[in-house]
């Protein structure tokens, strides 16, 4: 146990202290300069004009925290939190604050562009919207004619208007739609869906005992969980963190265990071994396969687990007893980005089953079911094309593939092979697989089989850089968006809208408008013949006064039931109860209960690469003047003993190489990381010169990570890559 240990080096402590002293002395550190508008900093007259306030919701990550934009003389000066937004507990983070530099970023795409040279060469020509839209429509229809409607794949990003891209793909006739989720959380979703019948929301605030493994909510924010975790601790909740790194979340915890990477399942099976032997455990008549599970975990003793995961057996037994005592107000935190190992669904199944044993489903301090928000999805007709193939292109490639999302990596494989049928077009909206998907060179190779690629974004992302047509979307602060429903655990079930705070800048346009214009040119204009106002009204039919409340408060809350939603009704599993033993897995040849597989140890001289993110960035949205002041480039974290063995020093430029590729970045000596593991953050090493703040700064995870995926869902397996590290002279 590393109770209370704070592995901060003397050097880093001094650096931090010096920086604080500099700020205190009024010196112009980069951070201070960034936060003071330049005009005022230069001593000019303060801005004149009335300051107006406008409700909106943040788009710097997926959380959608409520915001109030303060505007003066037509310019957004500041973004404040909406105190009425319970989901974000009336707060916004550094990223939310920095959205002022998102909208006014000089790197923004300003007008439609068409590629003139080779892909990735950066030879662009400015064209009119008419020209860009005509050409895009013509190319998409040409592919549809030659290769069927499914010959175009669609990748809508996280956005309130992504629903319209989904609708566009549906009406166009392609079911090859995927998104970032297969690089993120599908294995968690699969595990909980197959155990409880739905994906839960953790009631962190009311919990008394939380184990966090494979998650870092103090940096990779989830609202309200992140703020609730701090509040829960104040209220006496015990927090246990398992992580190969001493993360910010580990720093908050009562105890941190430096678990060997990839061995979380061993810990949880041993935990279950102890729990089922105790007097207090859940009600077996509300589970399926409990008795088989008791037999199954008999061999997974704490002593066995200690040898696998490195956590002392006595601690495993103690934690099992403590969490059982706290149950049902206790949980294994489900986390979010679970794209780590080839058996990541089974690892999360082990965690989900632990939650079953804690009997915390649908109860305060446990795991909650989705609450009723009441926002509807307006109906639209879809066509049928007899020549379309039977199913999506990667269907059947993974036993637990989600029909509606699929897997980017498996789809990429199909595009490269041309099997079972060709995909020759790509329509991307706000996704950046060149920066986020493992094996970037493979994504580039995929483009050899893509005849036409159109990308809508507000920046020239690495992915846009390889497109044929780049269309400038507008930012969330310029948008009129449909009603966006949100789940907020026990805090709320809510919905918000966005109206433009400022007008569209340059020649940027709303994605909805782009889709309307394309649909007219492609012969299905009637499918998008509505306004956002009309659409919103259909969404909130039955929610009296909801739109008025959203205009008045910036957010609408549905006072729906929080706990006991099932109230004795069957769960949405095959058996109608919590499935410890999963029948579908048995049929598909997967282990019906999680079976531990020892992860491979890195050979001498190699390391396991783990990736994650900081509180400042959201994957590929790092190109922000305010935020890069916190961290100008990513570094490779390595334990001092490992570095010494390799003759490496702090800040050395190193090359990190895997079987997929290699990249260069600076070394950061980190006493808090496991000795055979190295870590780097996402979002750097950009290929696109128009991401000027991160262009060739640090390294990209996409360049180094190998193309491996979870066997059940096709979700990326980002912690399976072994790397070698050498100093670059």
């Amino acid at each position: 146990m590393q109770d209370g240990k704070t592995p901060i080096s003397r050097r880093r402590f001094l650096q931090t202290s010096m920086a604080a002293a500099a700020v205190g002395a009024g010196l112009q550190s980069p951070l201070v300069k960034g936060l003071v508008p330049r005009v005022q900093a230069a001593g000019s007259r303060p801005d004149q004009g009335e300051i107006t306030s406008h409700f909106t919701a943040c788009d710097m990550c997926f959380n959608r925290c409520g915001m109030i934009a303060r505007k003066q003389n037509g310019v957004i000066k500041k973004l404040d939190p909406n105190p009425k937004c319970l989901k974000s507990r009336g707060m916004i983070c550094a990223r939310g604050n920095a959205a002022v530099k998102h909208i006014y970023n000089p790197d923004r795409l300003k007008y439609p562009l068409m590629r003139k040279g080779k892909r990735g060469e950066g030879n662009w020509e400015r064209v009119s919207w008419e020209e860009a839209l005509d050409y895009t429509a013509e190319q998409l229809m040409d592919i549809a004619e030659k290769h069927t409607r499914c010959g175009v794949m669609f990748t809508p990003g996280v956005d309130s208007q992504a629903r319209f891209v989904q609708q566009f793909a549906d009406v166009f006739g392609s079911y090859n739609i995927t998104n970032h989720e297969s690089l993120c959380l599908l294995s968690r979703n699969r595990a909980y869906l197959d155990t409880f019948g739905e994906v839960p929301y953790p009631d962190v605030l009311h919990s008394r005992y939380i184990i966090i493994a494979g998650a870092n909510p103090l940096e990779a924010f989830i609202t309200p969980d992140t703020t609730d975790l701090i509040e829960a601790k104040k209220n006496g909740c015990r927090i246990v963190v398992l992580d190969p790194r001493f993360t910010r979340t580990a720093a908050l915890a009562h105890e941190w265990h430096q678990i060997r990477p990839g061995t979380d399942m061993a810990f949880f099976l041993a935990l279950c071994h102890v729990i089922v032997k105790g007097e207090r455990f859940c009600c077996p008549d509300k589970t399926f396969g409990y008795d088989k599970f008791v037999e199954h975990v008999a061999k997974y003793t704490p002593e066995w687990a200690e040898k696998e995961c490195g956590i002392p057996a006595r601690d495993i037994s103690r934690i099992a007893h403590e969490i059982t005592e706290a149950a049902p107000r206790a949980m294994v935190y489900p986390g979010r980005r679970t794209s780590d190992y080839e058996d990541s669904t089974q690892i999360r199944r082990a965690m989900a089953i632990t939650n079953v044993l804690l009997d915390n489903w649908d109860r305060p301090g446990g795991l909650l079911a989705s609450r009723e928000v009441g926002v509807r999805s307006p109906f639209y007709h879809i066509p049928w094309y007899d020549d379309n193939p039977f199913d999506r292109v990667e269907a059947g490639k993974a036993s637990g593939l989600f029909d509606d999302i699929g897997s980017f990596q498996l789809m990429r494989e199909a595009v490269i092979s041309g099997e079972p049928y060709p995909i020759r077009g790509w329509f991307s909206f706000k996704t950046n697989f060149m920066q986020t998907a493992p094996d970037r060179q493979k994504t580039i190779r995929m483009l050899d089989n893509i005849d036409f690629f159109v990308n809508i974004d507000i920046f020239m992302s690495d992915t846009a850089w390889f497109a044929d047509v780049v269309l400038p979307g507008n930012s969330f602060l310029e948008r009129k968006d449909p009603v966006h429903p949100l789940q907020g655990s026990s805090a709320c079930a809510c919905a918000f809208i966005r109206d433009p705070v400022v007008e569209d800048m340059f020649e940027s346009r709303p994605p909805f408008w782009i889709l309307q214009e394309l649909s007219k040119r492609m012969g299905f204009g009637e499918s998008f013949d509505f306004t956002i106002e009309e659409y919103r009204k259909k969404q909130v039919e039955g929610l009296d006064g909801a739109l008025e409340i959203m205009h008045r408060d910036g957010i609408y809350f549905n006072p729906s039931k929080v706990y006991g939603i099932y109230a004795g009704s069957p769960l949405k599993t095959l058996s109608g109860v919590k499935e410890i033993y999963n029948q579908r897995y048995e049929r598909s040849g997967d282990d019906p209960m999680p079976v531990y597989r020892r992860p491979s140890n890195p050979p001498e001289g190699q390391f396991r690469l783990v990736v994650g993110r900081t509180a400042f960035f959201t994957q590929s949205r790092t190109n922000n003047e305010l935020l890069t002041e916190f961290m100008e480039e990513n570094t490779l974290h390595m334990h001092p003993e490992s570095a010494e063995r390799l003759g490496l020093k702090n800040n050395d430029l190193v090359e990190v190489a895997s079987r997929a590729g290699k990249d260069r970045l600076r070394l950061e000596i980190d006493e808090g990381i496991e000795k055979r593991t190295v870590y780097m953050a996402t979002g750097f090493g950009s290929l696109s010169p128009q991401m000027s703040l991160v262009y060739k700064k640090g390294a990209s995870i996409a360049e180094i990570l190998e193309d491996t995926h979870d066997e059940i869902t096709g979700n990326a397996a980002m912690h399976e890559t072994l790397v070698s590290v050498r100093k670059v002279s």
């Binding site: 079911y175 869906l193 197959d194 019948g197 739905e198 008549d285 509807r376 999805s377 307006p378 109906f379 639209y380 007709h381 879809i382 066509p383 049928w384 379309n388 039977f390 199913d391 637990g400 989600f402 029909d403 509606d404 259909k538 039919e541 039955g542 069957p570 949405k572 599993t573 095959l574 058996s575 109608g576 029948q583 579908r584």
Partner: protein
Amino acid sequence: MRKMIIVTMAFLIFATQVGIALAMLDGNPRQGRFLFRQECRPCHMENPQRQPAAEYLGPDAKRQAEWNEVFENVQALPCYEHWEISEDLLIHIHTYLYQGAADSPTPERCG
């Protein structure tokens, strides 16, 4: 013990039903989605576009076993006489609803 026997029996019956249903369901769920939205959904929505108006209905409105029950006796549905599709296309709708049922691997709420 008695409870265990009942649960085991229930499971065997359930598994048999599911097994039979799975063996039968060789329709095209994508085509089923199109047909469902064309034939069923316009009436089965909160603000129906066609008559006879009915409650919201999407794949996740029922469990897989319940969809099998519905299609075992499909002629008994009050709306059956209003349908304009041939019997041989029903398998596609059945497959679509079954595969997106509330207890399916990918529950689907129909927009």
